[in-house]
Every structure is written in C-alpha cells, then in structure tokens.
Symmetry: C2
Subunit: 393 residues, 2 copies
C-alpha cells in the first residue's frame, strides 16, 4: 500500500425531504449571502428551487440565483457567475443540481478570489490557492462532485475539457435526497450509474500490490451498482434502489475506495474528448470507452481482471484458463451496459470512426505518453478508440 | 435505507514514517501549545515519543507530556489531564497511542471547557457542548477512536465503563503509520482485529432493509480482516498486512460502514461489563461475547446470518437449509478467533460463570430492555453470558 492522505470533510445530509435543511446548514457553515446555482428550468418547475430558497428565507439568508448550467458545463457561465458573485458581495455558493452544476459552482468558487483568468487553474498553469465555500443539493447520482475535490469545465472555444483538483473545493455540506432522482429519465439514470462504476474502475485497476481493503471497498460499490441499477431502470420510483445508488455514487468518488494505490483515469481522459467533440453525455461516452480500454489493457494483469469477473459479476473462476474468466468479466460488463440501455460503440453513441484522428489530436498526447495501469502512447489511444468504435457484445 | 447524517472531517495521514509530520499538522490545525498524551513507557523506549516531540520542536510548538494511560482508561488520569491543561494554558491535545490513550485524550478535551465534573457527560446527564481539538498518532489498530466520534472511560470507583459520542471529539488529524504496529505482541494484535470486526458486526446486524451499499462495505472490511489477520499473526512484520488492517480499523468505526441503518451494540455493551469487572482486554472480551450473542439472536434473521456466512467466510449456501449455513458462519467466526489466539469462553478469558449475576447487575438492565437487532431483557442477557461462559468450537 502506498502512503496517502485522505480528507473528506463534507457533511453529508442524506434522505427523504432533507433539502428543507439547506438554510440551516448554510448558516452553520457561515454563509451570509448565497449564490443559488442551478441548471435547467426543471429545477424551477419541479418546485425544488422554491423549497431551497424558502429554506434560505426561513433563516433570513439573502440569495441571488443563476441558472442555465448545461451538461459539460461551460467556461462562459463560470465567467458570468464570478462577475455576479463579486458584484453582489456573495460569500457562499450553493449548487442545486447534478455534477455539471456543482462543477460550475466550484469553478465560480475558485475564480472569485483569483485575480487573473480562472481558466489558468483548469489549464494547470497555476494551482488553486483559495475558494469560496461551496455546498450542494444533489439531483443526479453520477459525478460524485458532491463529495469530491475535483471540477471539470469545458472551454466553449474549441470544446476543451479540463479539470482542477483541490481539497479547497470539497463541499462544506451536501444534501442528498434520493427522491429528487426518481424523476430522472432512464437514459440519464443509466449514464449516471455508468459514471459511478467508471469512477471505481479507474481506481480498481492499479499496479499497487496488497491493497485488499480498497479492492474490497471498490468491489462493494460495484456489486451494489450491478444489483441496483437494473432495478431503478425497471422501476424509476424505487426509493431504496435510488438511495443505494446515490450513496454509492458519493463513495465512488470521494476517494475512500481509491487511497493508497495508483489509479488509471485513461478511460475518463479518452472519454472527455468524445463528449467534448460531440456533446454526448459523459456516462454514455464512458460506456463506450471503458470496456474498450479494458479490451486493450487486460493482458497487463489477467488475474486482476479475473478478480473483477469473479467478485463483481459472479463469473465462475476458470482455474485452467484465467484469461477466459477475465474476458468473460469484460463481456459481462458490456452486457450489463446494454441491459441498462447504454451505447457500447461509436455508432450507438453518435460518434464517427473517421474522427478518431481528431480525438487523438485533441487529447494532445503528441509524441508523449499517458501514465496509468498501462502507459499509453498515440498508437495505443488510437487503437482503444478503434476498439470502441467497432465494439459489439 | 434510513435518513442519516455523515460527517468524518478527520484528515488521515497514512503510511511509513508519517509521524514526523505531526508538528506541521498541529500548526495547520491551529495548535499553539500541546498536551502530548501517551500510555506506557514503551512509547518512550521505542523512540516514538521522541520523534513526535522533535517534530513539535521543529515547528516551534511548546508541549507538555502526560503518560500513564492504562488499558480501559481511567477517569482519574482524565481529571489529572484536565487540571494540567488548564494550568498550562494548553489548546491542543495530541494522543500518541491506541484507543485507550485517544479516548483518555478525548475525555480531557471535553472536560477542560466544562465547568462541572466531566463524568456528567459520560453518565449522559449533560451533552457535550465544547471540546479542545484532539489529534492522534495511532499505535494500535483496534478501537477506531482515531476517526470516531466516541470515547469510553472507566470510572475507577466501581469500574464503571461509560461512553460519550459527539462530532466535536472527532480528531482533527490522525497519523497512521502501520510500522508502529509491527512490534505489538500477537495477543494484542488479535484483540485489535477482533475489536475491528466487532465494530463492523454491530452495524452489520441491522433490522433496516435494503441497505446493500453498507452491507457490502461491511463485508469488504470483514473479508479484509479474515484474510489479513492470520497473516500478521504468522508474520508480525508484514507491513502490507499491517497497513490493510490499520486502515480497515479506521473505516470500521468512522461509521462509513454504518450509515442509514439501525445498529446493535449489545455485544459491546455486554463486553464492557466483563472488561470492567476483570480488567481483561476489550478485544478478548468481544471474542467471547460476540459469537455468544450471535448464537442467541440468529433465529431472528437466519438469512442475514447466512449472508454473513457466504460472503464473509466463504461457506457454500445450503439452499435447502439456510439455518445450517447461518450456524456454519458463526462456527467459522469462532474458529477464526481460535486460530488468531483469542479466547472463546469465560475460562479462557479469565472470567467466572458464577459472576454472571454481578455482570447482569452492573449492566443496569433492571426490569427494562436493551434495544438492538433483538431487544434483550434481563433473562436474555443472562442467557447470552451463559452461552459465552460455556462456549466451545
């Protein structure tokens, strides 16, 4: 096990009707004027935004709202938010929505105290040194941003996706009410589930030896997703399944399942170019890229893939031929994705095989490599995109 | 799943040689004068205390030391610590040791700002409202106090064990260096492992339905302990096993494996009277009490015990007779305990069957009941002590 630091100070408030507590929690964490940041009008129409602002009013906390966050949240709205927060003297940012809204809120939070262009931090030319406090009322189980130290923003010019990571942007509190996810369409639910599983797989495929505890914790989240996801696809109002998935989504990405070991993150990296270029859902892109990446790398550690097959997908171990078990595990993952309505190749996703050179170019790998479970060069990432393009069950 | 709040703000610094960072972390968390609280002279002889104080000196942080914490830490030393901290104007308490030292430090931390007798809080006549910041350098993987909100202190007069629980006593940071646990005798290592597993079992045996994610997380910790404990007993210097156990011990008790569900805690409650009366190791007492409690309650939910048997101990499911599987699971747990050198009955522990009425009396159950997985009355706890007294493999 590698040395590590783990810090997850977010206070999670989980369960039915918990959004009514957000005013009290803003007060607890010192907010005196709030930016309520949200996405589409559905947050307004559903009555959620009204319940949130009523809760703030009950505590006498003034607020300003800023909606319009799109999936793959854009730099343009972050600039607008930074300006608004500065003008209004706001000291607390409350994201009401899914990962895109939260990531946008985190972008505003680091941008306000920074004198230059906030994109400097996302392009990694300067580190994050300060941030306004952020909190969340989560509406989609997927990105894990409600408990994570990261934020991904898309620069509209060129559709470049870039990220930051800092403990300063871990939410002060996150309100997780599974009821709010019951109205999500099946496709978005499945995209979220795929994202959650991908967050775990990126940590599961490690070159660090002897990490039984985090292996087992990863498998705990994966087994839960394998059990619960088809249940919510079949019955969207199943509160218990929604609850299990929502908490699994937080645990999948606050890094409790990833400490003390090397990670991969190449499926995410390769997917970011897909959803950047085509503006497809991140989870759907991962459904295409993650198994393709597995196909390409599994030779590197056949026993680890066999372990996944046995412990996560319940495939019997083939002791004479572990590779057979490993391959059956990857196949089981693709079957699971198809079962929950996810695409598994470019055509189903709405991507084009002839764009692969563009994707590789945008990835910016050049003559270099990307580290991870297996180090990838330009030829390798091209091959993974090619596998993804043509994949079938 | 039940509604819950989860808050684990402790910063964990894990790995080899990490104790050298404690000065920097005290500074980060605002300590200006430190009480270094420890147990036996072994912390001095091993050089650990010297490394800790050197680290404080390097940051220019003054400190006062207070050693002498015993297993089942006593109120008498807590009183002494409170007086010392007040006299010296100390504002930060650093526990260097295992659960007893940390619990004693937490007792001092809540006692200093409280005007009355600190025992009022442990006897639950007043709530905890303030506490000095506490941090830890952990030397024993067992109690989980390094990440928990609880503290157990024994009142010397009458050897009464009582506890408090408050987010205010969650450590600011905890330094976890598995190397420090390599010198632990096998018996103490096994006691710690038993305590860790008991912390999970108390949460695992729940009446809350549909808690797959926390069930799986519980099983993750238990499987890790089943694998790693015999390895460290056989090879005390196995760093990797020590590391897995140490982190498992923290996760077992910061409540990440216990949210959203009812708990039991009767094995702990019944054990506290044993270790109170005989001053035996808490983990050894649990090794006797926990399986006895299982024997008494398993009828209440045979399938849950079968699940434990299958998922934790790898017993094949007997679909024609799930009770057989459940019983084989309890037997496997006792066999595991014997294998790691733990007692499983009163004689092996050094307790006396004829004292059962005394134990029941001290438990203070009277004509009432204790809630949990199964509600227990006086006859029930008497029976559990009787099963524990006579248990064999």
């Amino acid at each position: 096990m590698d040395n590590f630091q783990f810090y997850s100070p977010t206070e999670f408030v989980f369960g039915m009707d918990t959004e009514g507590q957000c005013g009290a929690y803003v007060k607890k964490y010192g907010g005196t004027k709030v930016l309520v940041h949200y996405g589409s009008q559905s947050a307004v129409k559903s009555g959620l935004l009204g319940r949130v602002t009523t809760s703030l009013e009950q505590e006498g906390i003034p607020y300003v709202t800023l909606g319009g966050v799109q999936p793959n949240p854009r730099d343009t709205l972050v600039y607008e938010g930074i300006e608004l927060v500065r003008k209004e003297g706001i000291d607390f940012i409350l994201a009401v929505g899914g990962g895109s809204v939260i990531d946008s809120a985190k972008g505003i939070a680091v941008g306000v105290p920074y004198e230059g262009d906030f994109w400097d931090m996302y392009s990694r030319s300067v580190p994050v040194k300060a941030a306004l406090p952020v909190a969340t009322v989560l509406t989609i189980a997927a990105a894990g941003s409600e408990g994570s130290s990261s934020s991904v923003i898309t620069k509209e010019e060129g559709m470049l996706k870039r990220s930051i990571g800092s403990d300063l942007i871990r939410p002060r509190f996150s309100i997780l009410n599974p009821q709010l996810t019951c109205t999500l369409p099946a496709y978005q639910t499945a995209c979220g589930a795929t994202d959650i599983m991908a967050h775990v797989f990126e940590r599961y495929f490690t070159n660090t030896k002897e990490v039984e505890i985090t292996d087992r914790l990863c498998e705990a989240v994966l087994c839960t997703m394998v059990k619960e996801t088809p249940r919510v696809i079949a019955d969207p109002n199943n509160y218990e399944s929604r609850a299990n998935i929502m908490w699994a989504g937080t645990i999948a990405h606050n890094n409790i399942v990833g400490v003390g070991r090397s990670h991969d993150w190449n499926s995410h990296g390769l997917e970011h170019e897909l959803s950047g270029l085509y503006d497809v859902a991140h989870g759907a892109g991962l459904a295409v890229m993650m198994p393709a990446w597995m196909d390409y790398v599994y030779h590197h550690d056949i026993m680890r893939f066999a372990q996944m097959a046995v412990r996560v997908f319940g495939i019997p171990m083939n002791f004479e031929n572990p590779e057979d078990t490993a391959l059956k595990g990857i196949k089981a993952f693709r079957k699971f994705l198809v079962e929950i309505g996810m695409p598994i190749n470019f055509e189903q996703l709405g991507a084009k095989k002839e764009d692969i050179p563009v994707l590789v170019e945008k990835l910016g790998i050049g003559e270099g490599t990307r580290g991870g479970f297996v180090t990838l060069d330009k030829a390798a990432v091209t091959k993974i995109y090619e596998i993804a393009a043509d994949a079938t069950l």
